[in-house]
């Protein structure tokens, strides 16, 4: 085999210009593929990070409570018992928390917004504390100081609220300002309280624009809820990839324990109100979702990026394949006499085939490995530079204000193998034709 590699290498060196051009094209496409995959992976990572900090656990045990057929509340009653049951059935759990969920109108002196309201226990909500970073005052206030004002721990106090930069700008408020939160209680009555801005955090992509956070107790009080009710039990697993299986296991366990569990609907809880309101039942039904279900309205972004990447790479693959085939044809044509000679000297057909295939695969492997490595280095460099995305709309789409690339070794190896195989496939036909040449015809070939 070594001799084939040596001959293939010498042939590639001999046709230096063609090898360089083809190699460069192959390396560029592989580099592009690795970068696109790293970008998509980066967005996916950001999505998981923000979703599992702001609005979802890896698995969520939420539910709806209907006091009358025409009303519904996103609520788990007897939450302590349900939580005990979840703890019993869930496996490989990192930790479990409960949160309150609500929907509020937030009014300041200069504006108002409709927003989701999360009631959290700031001391227990580890992921929230990891992801949510307070913002410098200058980011949300003209002439603001370049220092962080406020304290996230103040969220443990009653009637304190954490906003994100975008919301603080919309409402024209800063830390210490008063806001009015208005909600509709589960019995349909209006309630309203004045709250103080405890802290303003940096935006965490699209999701942070839709949520504000208060202490669990404050949200409970506004909603006039008893201690036995909560919005959702959020389960964090040691391995997020087990979320689907964990959801099924917990669901089955809860059903066995006698709880009514809704049929799995892969949508966020707020998208289910109309369906649940239209249903004629009263009481409690639990609703289990994974983090992916809770943000499935955002996965179109990933799908769009992946689709565009696939289309782009497919076009480039076709072009590259045609280029490889063409180059191989030229190589065969140029070396027809040579083929005839080696065949006349007794080289078998399959060895001629192997010779040409080795040449193509050697070129493919070297170029794609170089391209994939360059793509990985470039992606890591861009990620390290924390390049700011200038457009607000794109920031929202990417769920981050900086470009985030996530490179994995599997992406580099996978891309290299995939493109080497594609190059090999493109070379099969010319190599086969070369191996089928009759020695006499090949030796007498003029051209």
């Amino acid at each position: 085999m070594g001799i084939y590699v040596l001959i293939a290498y010498r042939n590639l060196v001999q046709a230096k210009r063609r090898t360089l051009l083809l190699g460069l094209a192959l390396a560029s496409v592989t580099m592009l593929l690795v970068m696109l995959l790293s970008w998509s992976s980066g967005i996916s990572e950001t999505m998981v990070r923000s979703a599992t900090a702001l609005s979802s656990g890896h698995v969520n045990v939420g539910g709806f409570y209907k006091s009358t057929p025409s009303d519904t509340a996103p609520l788990v009653v007897d939450v302590a018992q349900v939580r005990t049951a979840v703890e019993k059935h869930a496996k490989n759990v990192d930790y479990i928390i409960t949160r309150q969920r609500g929907w509020a109108r937030l009014v300041s002196d200069s504006g108002s917004i409709q927003t989701g309201i999360g009631g959290i226990d700031i001391r227990a909500d580890r992921r929230f504390l990891e992801v949510v970073q307070l913002s410098a005052e200058s980011e949300y206030l003209d002439d603001g100081r370049r220092q962080i004002i406020g304290n996230i721990d103040d969220l443990a106090k009653d009637n304190r609220v954490l906003l994100f930069v975008k919301q603080a700008k919309q409402l024209g408020v800063q830390v210490g300002d008063q806001l009015t939160v208005t909600i509709e209680t589960l019995t349909g009555q209006t309630n309203s309280v004045d709250v103080t801005v405890a802290a303003v955090a940096q935006d965490v992509g699209l999701l942070s624009g839709w949520n504000i956070y208060m202490s669990e107790t404050s949200v409970r009080k506004i909603y006039d809820l008893s201690d036995t009710a909560a919005g959702v039990i959020m389960v964090y697993l040691k391995d997020i990839s087990e979320a689907n299986q964990a959801m099924k296991t917990i669901g089955l366990g809860l059903e066995k324990d006698g709880y009514k569990v809704m049929e799995h609907d892969p949508n966020p809880f707020w998208a289910k109100f109309d369906t649940v309101i239209a249903e004629d039942w009263v009481g409690q039904k639990l609703d289990l979702t994974t983090w992916r279900d809770e943000v499935n309205f955002l996965t179109w972004i990933l799908r769009a990026i992946d689709s565009v990447s696939f289309l782009l790479i497919s076009i480039l693959v076709v072009i590259i394949s045609i280029g490889i085939m063409n180059a191989m044809w030229i190589s065969v044509r140029e070396r027809t006499n040579e083929i005839g000679t080696v065949r006349a000297l007794g080289m078998a057909k399959n060895r001629v085939l192997t010779l040409f295939m080795t040449e193509a695969l050697l070129l493919g492997f070297a170029s794609t490995l170089l391209g994939a490595t360059l793509g990985a280095i470039l992606s890591l460099a861009i990620d390290a530079l924390q390049l700011v995305v200038p457009s607000r709309a794109v920031q929202i789409m990417l769920m981050s204000d900086t470009l985030h690339f996530s490179v994995s070794i599997s992406t580099v190896i996978g891309s290299t193998i995939a493109f080497t195989v594609i190059v090999g496939l493109a070379a099969i036909w010319p190599a086969y034709r070369a191996s089928q040449l009759q020695p006499v015809t090949a030796i007498n070939h003029v051209g």
């Binding site: 209680t185 349909g188 009555q189 209006t190 309630n191 309203s192 309280v193 004045d194 309101i277």
Partner: protein, 261 residues
């Protein structure tokens, strides 16, 4: 000097006392009777139809105006709010049947069940503003004071929602004209006691209803002020009130759907 202060204090006390003496608080029964009167005066035993113009003013936003036709059959607690204008809203409608409120959207052809406290067309007005008055049924009154509201002498009462009453505001203060029994002003409070909305009924009209065999009173204009977001207000003008009998089968989903075909 001390004598002067004592005399001043006595005069002040006597003034306060005389003011309190002027107020004639109503008993619980009298208040309930007054609320029933307010409700009954507006209730028509038969059917009711009116055209409503709703104008919503919001801070830093363009004004929005809707034209609706309201059909009511108070006997069966049935209600239809059918949007006529603007074009983008035409054909949309609410239908209340047996304590269930449904919204029909002709652009999707779908019906959605809504809560009884639905904000109509995204304005500050709610379903209850267009429905028959049920103050006595939904609230328990307590007397605050006899007051003057502009040129009117009024009874000011605090109304607390009865348990299980399906109302948006659990606490309401009502100013009721002593002379006519017309409701002139409502202040609606949140559960926390925060003032949310003030509603004025500046113009009342009456019309003879054959089905009732008596006059039916209705507000010609309702002005709703958002007390949380100052500057937001909704004005409702009711015109062409008609008490003639409506088609027997009109309070159905099919009838409302047919209006947008």
């Amino acid at each position: 000097m001390i004598h002067f202060r004592i005399i001043f204090a006595l005069v002040l006390l006597s003034l306060i006392g005389s003011k309190e003496a002027l107020a004639t608080p109503l008993s619980d029964e009298q208040m309930l009777a007054l609320l029933k009167k307010v409700d009954d005066r507006q209730r028509n035993n038969g059917d009711y139809k009116t055209i409503a113009y709703v104008q919503q003013k919001e801070k830093d936003k363009n004004d929005r105006v809707f034209q609706m036709v309201i059909y009511r059959r108070d006997e069966d607690d049935k209600l239809i709010l059918l949007f006529l204008k603007p074009k983008s809203e035409a054909g949309k409608g609410y239908l209340r049947l047996d304590k269930n409120l449904f919204l029909y959207d002709p652009s999707t052809g779908k019906w959605d069940r809504r809560t009884e406290r639905e904000r109509i067309g995204g304005t500050d007005s709610r379903r209850a503003d267009f429905d028959e008055s049920r103050l006595a049924e939904e609230y328990t009154p307590s007397y605050i004071a006899e007051e003057r509201l502009g040129k009117f002498s009024v009874h000011r009462m605090k109304l607390k929602a009865r348990p299980k009453a399906d109302v948006a505001y659990p606490i309401v203060e009502a100013w009721i004209d002593q002379a006519t029994g017309n409701l002139l002003k409502l202040q609606q409070f949140a559960l926390s006691g925060k003032l949310m909305r003030t509603t004025y009924y500046p113009k009342w009209k009456k019309k003879f209803s054959e089905s009732k065999g008596a006059m039916v009173y209705f507000p010609q204009e309702i002005r709703i002020f958002d007390e949380i977001q100052k500057g937001n207000r909704t004005t409702v003008v009711l015109k062409n009130v008609d008490f003639r009998a409506l088609d027997k089968n009109m309070f159905t989903k099919a009838w409302l759907e047919s209006k947008s075909r």
